[in-house]
Symmetry: none
Subunit: 407 residues, 2 copies
């Protein structure tokens, strides 16, 4: 038996999306509707009713982990997602190359989306020496990267240096708990911030960019301080081997954190131009040798963040097409598929909301309900009713992958 979990980021919406319909209702989705018809449907509160999920916490919860217990911040998933070797106790951050003036006031949070000299910059950042700890920086795409502070007696309980706005000064990291370890880590971060500016500001690539009127990458802004979460890999819990197919670093990182093999297939950009068929084909290849694949589609969320209903509808139809290809090439006598979103991102609000998302599970062991269309409204009438997180354990239940609790 094979298990497939497909998460479409930001899938859910509101009836303010598009002429009284949600984007899912407005989209033409024959393949998702077919899944709804043969499967069991319901509403998913990604974490819990009345909780507005982040993408990271939502994925952890859907995978069966309790984010209130295991989540420490986003940085570690970004670091894992771009392939960094994260060790126990490492303090991990999302890192942005940015542009500041002489008073460390932020001029451009993305250093003009710099896409040159990234190796040189990475090397320079890694040359920064701080008190009693090691600095490890890795560049990913454009201005993005992740940073690890490695040493003894550190804590992730510190605030961001990223002011999250231009015109504001770079913030001093502060301890958010009364502990020597947090005070020490905040001091290291502040020392790093000062030193990295000194190192970067005179770097050749930055001089060149300034001559060309481009924003220099003369600071590193840090956010999402976190450590490797204390979670058991899926294999240890369920005894199964799985793969994750995604474009975005965050999702690849979460997948690594739970012990999945991670694959970013060609054309998987994590953006709305992403090649979804390539993802599905890679998933089908993986299923030859694996018990489980997780496929992540990012684009619908991005379109909704941009308040673009037409683009979100179009992307949902692109997802539907990819699901059609999956259904054409999988035998639901030997497999179960779960399809859902990690949260709603309504068009008007343009950000995650606490509204539940539709969920469908199909396959030989599922008792179908009467739902015939895949969307928020029809899902209300489904046989799964309304559940909080834990989609993967439910899917694995249908696949007979679960150990008994008790005897």
């Amino acid at each position: 038996m094979k298990a497939v979990l497909v998460i479409a980021d930001g899938l859910g919406g509101r009836i303010t999306d598009y002429n009284g319909k949600t984007c899912l209702e407005a989209a033409d989705t024959p393949n998702l509707d077919y899944l709804a018809k043969i499967g069991i449907n319901g509403l998913l509160d990604p974490i819990e009713h009345g909780v507005r999920p982040g993408s990271d916490t939502a994925h952890l919860s859907i995978f069966g982990y309790d984010p209130k217990e295991v989540y420490t911040g986003r940085g570690v998933f970004e670091a894992l997602g771009i392939g960094m070797d994260v060790q126990d106790g490492d303090i991990c951050f999302r890192a942005n190359l940015a542009t500041v003036d002489d008073e460390l006031r932020v001029i451009d949070r993305r250093a003009g989306r710099i896409n040159e000299g990234l190796d040189e910059i990475e090397k320079a950042i890694n040359s920064v020496e701080v008190y009693d700890a090691e600095i490890i920086y890795k560049s990913s795409v454009e201005h993005r990267g992740a940073l690890i502070i490695r040493g003894e007696g550190l804590s992730y309980r510190i605030t961001d240096t990223d002011p999250h706005k231009t015109g504001k000064k770079v913030l001093r990291a502060k301890a958010i708990e009364r502990a020597v370890s947090a005070e020490k880590t905040a001091a290291i971060v502040n020392e790093f911030t000062k030193k990295v500016h000194d190192v970067l500001k005179d770097l050749e690539i930055n001089r060149k960019r300034m001559k060309e009127g481009k924003a220099p990458a003369n600071i590193v802004l840090l956010r999402g301080a976190s450590i490797k979460p204390d979670i058991k890999p899926l294999k240890e819990i369920y005894g199964i081997e799985g793969s994750a197919i995604a474009g975005g670093a965050l999702y690849l990182g979460i997948a690594r954190a739970i012990g999945l093999k991670t694959i970013k297939p060609e054309g998987a950009t994590g953006r709305k131009d992403s090649n979804l068929l390539s993802k599905v084909k890679t998933a089908l290849d993986e299923l030859e040798s694996r018990d489980f694949v997780f496929i992540h589609f990012k684009g619908a969320d991005s379109c909704a963040h941009d308040h673009d209903a037409d683009a979100k509808i179009e992307f949902i139809e692109k997802i539907d097409n990819a699901i059609g290809y999956l259904l054409d090439n999988i035998d639901l006598e030997d497999a179960h598929i779960a399809f859902t979103g990690d949260h709603s991102t309504p068009i008007e609000y343009g950000d995650h909301t606490a509204d539940p998302v539709p969920l469908v599970i199909a396959g030989r062991n599922v008792i179908p309900d009467d739902v015939e269309r895949f969307n928020e409204r029809d899902a209300m009438k489904g046989g799964l009713h309304r559940i909080s997180g834990r989609v993967l354990p439910v899917l694995f239940g249908y696949c007979n992958f679960l150990d008994k609790f008790g005897a």
Copy 2:
């Protein structure tokens, strides 16, 4: 965006209430039915399925707090509700003026619902001196009041002195945990009980009452020992300013505990003769400058405690009328309304039960379901399905008031 939460105390019922119908089914409720029609409906377990809620614990849970974590007893809410200044560590009690004989046997738990000389009695009680602590008593309505014991090293983990029955002797308070602080507090309460009887029995007002054949208020019975709960005010969690409109001290007290401005409007008696329109008008006034109002209607619960189905039905229709006024004066493009009960109080049983209560939420961001009537039976088919507590976070989710958990 504005949020309105209306809780009708003891709203839910059973089909044993009235000719095979619940009181809600028997009542004529065009306005609640309209809310059901335009909104999303479901069943609410105020705390959790299989838990029989008190009014205090149910309200905490509906407001999004976990009563298993934060609830210590009812006394503190009564003290807050009548405007007492409750400080950290204060041990708070519900206090009843009562009548005892010379052997401290209770003759009347309400001292003949005494409604005279309350200032004199309050002063006398506050004159009682006990070992190593301060006594602060405040009278509210008739025989009712609240008492605070303030001092170092006290504990709320002690039993009531109120025997809850006439003919029984006043109980000695006992520690319910092995701790010096609980032993000390119980000793203070017992010292207080003896001394307050000595002070009250010869008070002029009591001599006068005895001459007139009325029950003297010659003792103070204590119950619900508790401390200020460790809860974050709503403003700290959600960044919003709210007001509470209620008649009963308990509800005003809970509202104060979560940081709401509290208002007891004219005619709001907390009884079935309460002026509900006055409450709704006050709520509408508050909404001019506040993000959120909570309205509490008490009467349906009182009628059900009296096993009076006709009175409960009549009060539900009075609530419906008040909701009609609210709907006529609020724009659901700019506001979301949640309407529910804090628990069921069926007519036959005459007390709170664990049966779930119907819940409806309406407003621009809600996806309506097919439910067209507001009652226990139709709510079973609603799109909210069955949720446990946390109505306020769900309502605030629709209003876009929630912070993201995660990133």
